[in-house]
Amino acid sequence: VISLAHYLTLAAILFGVGLYGVVTSRNIIRVLMCVELMLSAVNINFVAFNRFVNPDQMAGQVFAIFVLTLSAAEAALGLAIVIALYRKKASVDIENYRELQG
């Protein structure tokens, strides 16, 4: 029988994979994708908690919808920043973005 722990483990694995991608990848678009992976993992957790812990209220699903909204906004803004940066640097390699390194 599939329990809450199964979903939590799956979401943790997905989050870990996304985190690894954020840390290791050089292409900034891939970094954006991995952030989306992490947000999706969080969404799985929200929905699973909603079903297993409090099925009569829809709070978990509502929060998952808000996460969906936020991640859409984040992706649009992030990609706009990537396009602007690419126009300036002609590269999507994060090694070339050194302005904010301090």
Binding site: Y7, I44, Q57, A73
Partner: protein, 209 residues
């Protein structure tokens, strides 16, 4: 005899994990974008398994179609020759950090197993509603009664993000020298030996010479 839910869970869990790994490890960014679609679709399957049918459809529309199309546009705009660079930029400390985070996640999961959740079974009326019409109506009632203020704030945020994205990404028309010629710049950067150390002004002056 495993239940149908168990079979579906394990099948989609395998698809999710493998395609997520493909997103991270694929050499060519276009392949990882395409496997990202697969991740999003299988996550939508998990939503269906958890009685969230509206969320599953929204996931397919927003993530698997909309977001990945935007990402594909980004990938194709920034046609990349990064694949030639083999070496990983990961330092030792980043590996340590990642290991630490993974251990913390493992500890969290183990702790979560010990913690007695207040697991509740759905009430009879809820089961009847779910079987008759799905969870979409319940979700709509929850959004427009209990969560109406966050909903409105989210709509304003989406509008702001849209306007902001357009403002950031659009070419500045009044200052032609800062925008540069996008189509020609990679050619010159390929001939310039040290790309990473040059400021944009240097790159532009190198282009003119």
């Amino acid at each position: 005899m495993p239940t149908v839910e168990a079979i579906l869970f394990w099948v989609f869990a395998g698809i999710t994990v493998f395609s997520a790994l493909a997103v991270v490890t694929c050499k060519r960014i276009i392949y990882s974008t395409l496997s990202l679609i697969l991740v999003f679709l299988s996550i939508a399957a998990f939503f269906v398994l958890n009685n969230a049918d509206f969320l599953a459809i929204a996931q397919i529309i927003v993530y698997a179609v909309g977001l990945t199309i935007i990402l594909l546009f980004g990938v194709m705009f920034t046609a990349e020759r990064l694949e030639a660079q083999k070496e990983h930029p990961v330092s030792k400390s980043q590996h340590w950090l990642f290991g630490l985070v993974c251990t913390m996640f493992g500890a969290l999961l183990v702790a979560a197993q010990q913690f007695p959740y207040l697991q509740k079974l759905p009430s009879a009326t809820l089961i009847k509603t779910l079987q008759a019409e799905g969870s979409t109506g319940l979700l709509g009632k929850a959004i427009f009664n209990q969560f109406v203020l966050p909903f409105e704030v989210a709509s304003v945020l989406l509008l702001m993000a849209m306007v902001g994205a357009i403002m950031i990404a659009k070419k500045r028309l009044d200052t032609t020298e800062t925008t540069g010629d996008v189509t020609r710049m990679p050619l010159n950067l390929a001939s310039a030996p040290k790309v990473s150390d040059s400021s944009p002004e240097l790159v532009l002056s190198g282009r003119e010479s």
